[in-house]
């Protein structure tokens, strides 16, 4: 990192440092006795360390992470494949669009009661919830991306001798990438929000479940640790897709 980048990074971090400082001062000012209802930042960090060393946080985090990765990967892949088919073949789009239009507005968590009865309260339940949450946005962004490719680009590829399959993979799909990444970026963060909510409501393991247990024991420091993990993961996933999008499309956009 050169000096300019360090300066940029420093100026970006400054408001965060000020916020954490104010938090610490406010919590220790004596207005909240016992640090129960408003634990200082340093106490939260200490608890984070304890939870990490004891293995409680890594275990719950790993459980949530696996669920998110499995559900998100499967949902995105399915959304991508279905989006390609619907975007490239008008007949498939006509057949499936009305069905997906009806299902899309249902919030992912709305499926929870149905799925609890269908698949039970096991590992599949949160994965299916994340699958649903990821599937539709990636599907619609892929369809939009492919359908908005300039038809002249498709035609010129035809005149240059490309088969339909080659046109799909060398023209339509690369040009739909910006739209596809928009879907992935938005849903990566959403997947974490949904898994936490699902674990809080119905599943006894994972970061969301840890958060609920801490809440019932009035351990706000642990609650804040869980929320911080959630924030960092949402941000990391989103940043990963921004980075990947830049790597793949930055040269020509």
């Amino acid at each position: 990192m050169n000096r300019l980048n360090w300066l940029r990074f420093g100026s970006g971090m400054l408001p965060v440092i000020v916020f954490l400082g104010l938090w610490e001062i406010a919590a220790r000012s004596g207005g909240f006795p016992g640090n129960v209802f408003f634990p200082p930042f340093t106490l939260v960090i200490r608890e984070f360390w304890h939870l990490t060393v004891s293995g409680v946080l890594p275990e719950n985090f790993a459980t949530s992470l696996v669920r998110v990765l499995a559900g998100f990967s499967a949902g995105s892949a399915a959304g991508l494949i279905m989006g390609i088919l619907m975007g490239y073949r008008q007949c498939i789009n006509k057949a499936l669009h009305p069905i997906f239009s009806l299902l899309y507005p249902i919030p992912a968590l709305g499926w929870l009661p149905v799925l609890m009865l269908w698949v039970g309260i096991g590992e599949m339940l949160p994965i299916i919830i994340i699958f649903i949450c990821s599937f539709f946005p990636v599907l619609y962004n892929t369809v939009t991306g492919i359908r908005t490719v300039d038809p002249n680009l498709i035609n010129v590829a035809r005149t240059l001798g490309a088969s339909e399959g080659k046109i799909l993979f060398t023209v339509a799909l690369p040009l739909a990438l910006p739209n596809i990444f928009t879907g992935l970026r938005l849903e990566a963060g959403m997947a974490w929000r949904v898994i936490i909510a699902a674990e809080m409501v119905a599943i006894p393991t994972g970061i969301g479940a840890l958060l609920m247990k801490a809440e019932s024991l009035i351990r706000l420091d642990i609650v804040i640790v869980c929320l911080m993990v959630l924030a960092v993961m949402c941000l990391s996933f989103e940043r990963f897709f921004i980075f990947a999008e830049r790597k793949l499309t930055g040269r020509w956009r």
Partner: protein, 347 residues
């Protein structure tokens, strides 16, 4: 390079079009916007459904999809792939047709040299000017060695100077490769400069096909005449032979010298493009030179046409908008008109 033959082509736009584009010829399809020129190109390329028959060098291509017709197509908007660099854009056709990497590199290098673009090979579209993009699109269309080349208003989005330069470049390349070419435009100037032959299309019908001078001087019907714009036609009061092959005709008090053999002199015809216009009096003898006043101005994208009253006659002349403005001309300006001897026709 093959001859393109179209027999009784019909679809939702084109009506009963039959046409032959000769081997190595550059045929310009000229017509107003919406006449069906692009549709006809799409039909030849296999991108639009049609009834009728098309053959390349006697080989029917009606049942072949676009990718098997071997027609290089330069679209009006160029349709360059934004996600590929220049080299990959040019190589696209070769790559999808399964050429070996060595063949692709050799062919792309050859085209980059032909287009004078070797220094641009790794750039992306956003780094190119309009003219450079035009050349990339042409190189891409030529890369898989197509049997025919289809060009749809390739220079419509460029400024006048660049388009003139690229027109000359295209003509050079077309002649060098000897590729049978169909070139679509609505611009008369472009058509006149580029064409071996011109086909006039109006309302989906091919109205006339012929050499540029035939089409411009002898429009076969009113539609063609209306589209091309009327030439200046002056009635002759009298005439006399100056020497063999040269006459002096008297038209509304003007003496016009023209090349002509025979004794049938009724009218003198000259197109606006063949009248030299100047604000200052041109040096040299005053042969076919007349002073007049601009009475009317009509400006379009590529041409400024204006009427000049000279003596009892009114001439329609034309200049590029840039030249017209550079000369500071306006309604009421005095100008000198010189009728170019070579282009004066006697009928």
């Amino acid at each position: 390079m093959p001859e393109i033959v179209l027999k009784a082509i019909n679809n939702f736009v084109c009506r009963d079009i039959s046409l032959t584009v000769k081997n190595g010829e550059l045929l310009v399809l000229l017509g107003p916007t919406g006449a069906g020129k692009t549709t006809l190109l799409n039909i030849i390329a296999g991108l639009t459904a049609y009834r009728g028959g098309i053959s390349f060098d006697g080989r029917p291509v009606d049942r072949l999809p676009a990718r098997q017709r071997k027609a290089g197509y330069l679209f009006q908007g160029l349709a360059l792939f934004p996600h590929l660099d220049i080299r990959s854009n040019i190589a696209y056709g070769l790559r999808v047709q399964g050429f070996s990497p060595g063949e692709i590199t050799g062919r792309v290098d050859e085209l980059l040299r032909l287009m004078n673009m070797t220094h641009l090979s790794n750039r992306y579209l956003r780094d190119l000017s309009g003219g450079e993009k035009q050349r990339v699109a042409l190189a891409r269309a030529l890369a898989p060695s197509p049997e025919v080349l289809l060009l749809d208003e390739p220079f419509s989005s460029l400024d006048f100077r660049t388009s003139r330069y690229l027109m000359m470049e295209l003509r050079r390349i077309q002649k060098q490769l000897g590729i049978t070419t169909v070139y679509v435009t609505h611009n008369l100037l472009e058509a006149r400069e580029m064409a071996d032959r011109i086909g006039i299309i109006c309302d989906g019908r091919l109205e006339q096909v012929g050499l540029p001078q035939e089409v411009f001087f002898y429009p076969e019907n009113q539609r063609v005449s209306d589209f091309l714009g009327a030439p200046n036609v002056l009635d002759c009061d009298g005439w006399r032979t100056l020497r063999e092959g040269l006459i002096k005709a008297s038209c509304g008090g003007m003496n016009i010298v023209a090349a002509h053999e025979g004794d049938n002199v009724k009218k003198v015809v000259i197109f606006p493009a063949h009248i030299f216009v100047s604000k200052q009096r041109p040096p040299g003898p005053a042969l076919n030179r007349f002073k007049g006043v601009i009475t009317d101005i009509l400006t379009s994208q590529f041409l400024t046409r204006f009427r000049v009253k000279a003596g009892k006659n009114i001439f329609l002349a034309e200049l590029t908008p840039e030249a017209f403005n550079d000369m500071g001309l306006q309604k009421g300006s005095e100008v000198y008109l010189t009728l170019k001897l070579k282009w004066i026709r006697i009928i």
